[in-house]
């Protein structure tokens, strides 16, 4: 053998091989052992979570009438790299758009700034929610439009023209909603208003998921581990509202051309029978892709049709509030059933005058309610606030008064199962201390007749009616009667007892009965059942608001109601007749022909509100 001198070189070559392998093992250790990042990037790469949307729960009224349901809608999707040989004109004609709209939309999809998730390999939304008819036409030609697909979705449809505020609507989630709740992903739908929002978790159900394996081009290759980790969607729960849709329809009809609200409650259960807010809108306007523009229009409307005045509008309750005052004075021993106060066309003392209309004087509580005497209740509050044997000072008296009001459901949200409830305003001693410094009973006397600082929502006024009908308690008013395979929240079934004894309620009931029989609510009187009621005429900057609060029948009441018509004048002008028609509709299930004629005449009596911003 030659070349023995070079024998050492076999070790050099063996060493080179060793060094290479060692370097690579170190590199492998770095990649595989020290770094978790690659693992998560691998999962993001390969797993595609295909979300399966559950059917949203449908909504019925208390009689099982369908109000809201789902309808399939069709989104046109496009995979850019599969689009070729497209007859653009034919395509545009088929789906009723112009060539320019087509070009604009395609440019929008391709713009990564506006569409960050853009990929030429995956489905992009070309046009959302085309109708079944458009879908039918498109489907026949779809085979010619390479790269275009149809994705099925469901949209919310309304079987009723009413209940817009109650039902609310559904729309795509906002970024904040995505950030606040892990359940949602961009593009999901969520209840935005009304029951759709407050019962979102029940209605939406639970999304299902298929874990699919996706290749480098975004194409699906199969189920991960044969789908053992997949979850089926759980459909949303159906809701039954306590709303009587016939009553609701009548209420909306009667409130046409007027602003205000009607709320009716079943006293025994706290179930809300109708909740009209006027002006309202047709819920169909919120369907499908037109929602955005319709919302915009309504938000610009100075009459604020989107506002649910029944729970979000706060109004001076006017004379309807006097019932609560009488109850408070009785319980506190300021008056008895026979205490009479004078009223000479008003409450007049020390240069202070609260006007009243003509009636006999002096009179005790029952006729004072029946005739809605301002003087009586001003005197009552005057004596209560100035009673230094019972209360150390006016602050203590005021605080006591406030506690009574709160126990009747005023001043705080009632906790109705709808979003956007307002709390109204019940002043307390602290409030006056801050606001007025030194103050006395005369300075705040107007709260006794439901004016001044006091405001209530129509729901709170109706709830006052329900409390009186129940002779001293109320159940939290609620709008959902039952949840399919579920239970409504316990907080909605709580019985709230006021601080006033039942025997005093009977006196107030008597007063309200007298008001119907021969007082301010005469027009609500009927021979069919015993109606109890109380008008309200609330002063404000413009024309007086017309209000009515009542219930029927007197014994074993079926319905308590509040009607509030902005700028409607006397309570008897709009409040009482509308309330009477509503009670008749609910108790009898229909209107008599003469009532029907009256309803039509009220439907056509519109109030001119001008165009003032409210």
């Amino acid at each position: 053998m030659k070349n023995h001198v070079y024998d050492y070189r076999k070790f050099v070559l063996a060493g080179i091989a060793l060094v290479i392998v060692l370097c690579y093992i170190v590199r492998l250790a770095f990649l595989q052992l020290s770094n978790e990042e690659y693992k998560s990037r691998a999962d993001n790469n390969a797993f595609f979570n295909n979300v399966i949307f559950p059917a949203r729960g449908v909504i019925y009224d208390r009689n099982g009438e369908l109000l809201v349901y789902n309808q399939p809608a069709y989104d046109i999707m496009v995979i850019m790299r599969e689009v070729h040989n497209l007859d653009t004109l034919d395509f545009c004609r088929t789906i009723n758009i112009t060539k320019k709209q087509f070009d604009d939309r395609m440019a929008q999809i391709k713009n990564r700034n506006k569409n960050p998730g853009y990929s030429t390999y995956t489905q992009q939304l070309f046009m959302p929610q085309i109708s079944s008819e458009e879908y039918g036409i498109l489907q026949e030609k779809l085979f010619r439009f390479h790269g275009f697909f149809i994705r099925e979705r469901t949209i919310r449809r309304y079987a009723t023209d009413h209940c817009a505020h109650i039902l609310g609507d559904v729309a795509e989630v906002s970024q904040t909603e995505v950030d606040n709740d892990d359940y949602y992903d961009p593009g999901d739908y969520i209840g935005k208003q009304g029951v759709e929002r407050s019962y979102e978790t029940e209605l939406r159900g639970v999304k299902g998921v298929q874990i699919l394996l996706r290749d480098a081009r975004g194409r699906i290759q199969g189920h991960y581990r044969n789908g053992v980790l997949d979850r089926k969607p759980i459909p949303g729960k159906n809701l039954t509202l306590s709303i009587d849709s016939k009553l609701q329809a009548l209420g909306e009809r009667l409130m046409e051309g007027k602003m205000g609200a009607i709320v009716a409650i079943e006293p025994k259960t706290g179930e809300i029978l109708c909740m009209v807010s006027s002006p309202s809108y047709d819920p169909h306007r919120m369907e499908g892709k037109q929602r955005g523009t319709q919302m915009m229009d309504m938000q610009r409307d100075p009459l604020k049709p989107m506002l649910n005045r029944a729970i979000a509008g706060t109004y001076p309750p006017g004379s309807t509030f006097k019932t609560s005052q009488g109850l408070t004075f009785l319980q506190e021993g300021i008056i008895t059933s026979s205490t009479a106060y004078p009223c000479y066309r008003g409450f007049v003392t020390k240069g202070m005058r609260v006007g009243c209309h003509g009636h006999g004087s002096p009179l005790p509580l029952i006729p004072a309610i029946a005739t809605s005497c301002n003087g009586y209740f001003c005197w009552g509050l005057y004596h209560m606030l100035n009673n230094r044997t019972k209360y150390k000072n006016i602050q203590e008296a005021m605080t006591t008064w406030k506690d009574y009001m709160v126990s009747m459901g005023f001043g705080y949200k009632l906790g109705v199962d709808l979003p956007g409830e307002a709390r109204g305003m019940i002043p307390n001693a602290d409030y006056y201390d801050r606001r007025l410094g030194q103050w006395n009973a005369l300075g705040v006397i107007s709260i006794a007749i439901g004016q001044g600082e006091v405001t209530l929502t129509p729901l709170q006024i109706a709830n006052l009616g329900a409390t009186i009908a129940n002779r001293g308690y109320y159940i939290t008013p609620h709008i959902v009667k039952a949840i399919e395979d579920g239970k409504i929240a316990d907080s909605l079934l709580v019985k709230h007892t006021t601080r006033v004894d039942t025997m005093y309620y009977n006196l107030v009931v008597e007063g309200m009965r007298k008001a119907v029989q021969g007082g301010t609510c005469r027009s609500a009187n009927t021979s069919m059942y015993e109606v109890c009621g109380k008008t309200g005429t609330a002063q404000n900057r413009g024309k007086d608001h017309s209000a009515f609060m009542g219930f029927a029948p007197k014994n074993n009441p079926k319905i308590a109601i509040a009607v509030y018509v902005e700028n409607g004048g006397f309570g008897a002008t709009f409040g009482v007749p509308i309330g009477a028609l509503m009670m008749e509709q609910f108790i009898n299930g229909k209107l008599s022909p003469s009532s029907e004629a009256r309803a039509t005449s009220f439907q056509n009596r519109h109030i001119d509100y001008g165009t003032r911003e409210r």
Binding site: L31, Y38, A216
Partner: protein, 489 residues
């Protein structure tokens, strides 16, 4: 008759079973990896002819038959026919350029009826190795003779040129592996060192060519390469000539001048220090040439040549770079981190790293890898097969593969060293150099350490041509080795 029997028996006993065992381990392990890489969720039958894993079984089976047949062909045949085989193979390579259909830009695949295609470049390696063995095994061959070494290098470059003409630059680069064999056979180590230096210049120069030293108009790449060139040159003067005086003069001059230039650039007028370095290089080259003339020592001349090449090489790389195919240039750029765009050209290496990195210590288990199966890694069953090993078998498995390879190459070194004839040893070193080069480039590119050159990982990458090619290469050598004891009888 008895003699024949004896020789057959002797050959059987002399077969290197250790190498064969390692070969079988690698092939079986490779088959499992191909199963992982090609697993189709819609067609989970691993043995079906429809799948790559099923086909790979056939390629492996036929390889074993081929191996058995090769064990029957005596060494004498190769001794006689080496140049004929070489010539035939070169003709085949040349024909391929003309008649092969265009496959993804390369013209290297010959269709042989139906869907079966072969790649002659995979088979040319053994022919070149045989020719080299024959040439260098001739009596009187000396690596010191320019004519002899020139012939050997010519034998290597001819197929390289033909394969580059087929637009398979990657496969052509494999022929550089033969220089490892030449090194073992006595080629001067400085040549290997020059090659190494070139690679370093290339990588460092290009990686940092766009970066500048803070506050100075000096390219880090250029600066570093020139400094490295000077340092290497000075070291070589020390190692090969032992001229301490010259080393001191050069080292102090260069260090002093560079330092002064940098201080001037920082504090007085900023300018490109590289001009000074370039001047120093020229001075140094002149000085060494002077030494060469003065001492009449050829070594100084060679060192001067190295210095010239070093300096010139860097300025040539930009130009050279333009000559690479676009995809190869981008691949090198990606490797060097010049363009790190996950969806662009860096995609392959990036996805390969994700696949391997996601394997962890024990891997995801056989057929459970997601990255390689879902085609995130391109060429996953051929060039990037090592990703599947990394993903499904984890660190344990991939380090295991590397270690088996190391043992395999070490064993081949041992077997080559025990050859009694030079032809056998030369051929053996050719074989192991090729395996080492494939391992180095293939695993390196998957790990993001070497440029992405599309060459297979022997026994692992899917494909009949490469498996047969490597089997051919290996078993000719094993048969030569088995005959080592016969001559002595």
């Amino acid at each position: 008759m008895t003699g024949q029997n004896n020789s057959s028996k002797g050959i059987f006993l002399s077969i290197d079973w250790v190498t064969i065992l390692l070969y079988v381990i690698l092939i079986v392990w490779g088959w499992f990896s191909v199963c992982g890489a090609c697993y189709d969720f819609n067609n989970p039958d691993l043995f079906s002819w429809e799948t790559n894993s099923g086909k790979q079984i056939v390629w492996a089976g036929t390889s074993l038959v081929l191996a058995a047949v090769l064990m029957l062909i005596e060494k004498r045949f190769y001794d006689t026919a080496a140049f004929v085989i070489y010539g035939a193979m070169m003709i085949l390579l040349a024909i391929t350029i003309v008649i092969a259909p265009d496959t993804k830009g390369s013209r290297s695949w010959l269709p042989i009826g139906g869907s079966v295609k072969i790649q002659p470049a995979e088979f040319a390696k053994f022919a070149v190795a045989l020719a080299l063995g024959k040439l260098m095994g001739e009596y009187g061959f000396s690596i010191r003779k320019v004519k002899d070494i020139g012939t050997a290098i010519g034998l290597i470059f001819l197929p390289m040129i033909l394969i580059i003409a087929q637009k398979e630059t990657g496969s052509a680069l494999v022929y550089f592996a033969f220089f490892l064999m030449l090194y073992r056979e006595g080629m001067t180590g400085s040549l290997l060192f020059t090659g190494f230096a070139c690679v370093v210049y290339f990588v460092v120069g290009l990686t940092f060519s766009q970066d500048h030293i803070t506050n100075m108009p000096v390219s880090i790449g250029e600066f570093t390469v020139l400094l490295l060139g000077m340092s290497f040159t000075i070291c070589m003067v020390w190692i090969y000539c032992r001229n301490l005086k010259a080393v001191k003069i050069m080292a102090y001059t260069c260090a002093g001048a560079t330092l002064l230039a940098m201080l001037f650039s920082i504090y007085v007028i900023p300018f490109d220090v590289c001009y000074i370095l370039f001047g120093l290089c020229i001075l140094m080259i002149g000085y060494i040439i002077g030494l060469a003339i003065y001492t009449r020592m050829i070594r100084y001349g060679l060192i001067a040549l190295f210095a010239i090449i070093s300096t010139a090489f860097f300025y040539m790389t930009d130009t050279l770079f333009q000559h690479l195919d676009n995809h190869q240039r981008i691949r090198i750029e990606v490797l060097l981190g010049i363009k790190d765009d996950p969806r662009g050209a860096g995609y392959n290496v990036n996805q390969a790293k994700i696949a391997i990195g996601s394997g962890g210590l024990f891997g995801k288990g056989f057929l459970n890898g997601t990255q390689t199966k879902l085609r995130y890694v391109p060429e996953q069953h051929t060039d990037f097969i090592f990703c599947t090993v990394g993903e499904e078998e984890g660190f344990i498995g991939s380090a295991g593969v590397l270690i088996v390879y190391l043992l395999f190459i070490w064993r081949l070194i041992a077997v080559a060293e025990r050859q009694t004839e030079r032809m056998g040893r030369v051929y053996g070193y050719c074989v192991l150099s090729i395996f080492l080069f494939h391992l180095f480039i293939n695993v390196g590119m998957v790990l993001g350490l070497t440029p992405v050159i599309g060459i297979p990982l022997p026994f692992f990458s899917y494909g009949g041509s490469s498996l047969w090619g490597f089997t051919l290469l290996l078993f000719i050598f094993l048969r030569m080795d088995a005959e080592r004891n016969l001559k002595r009888q």
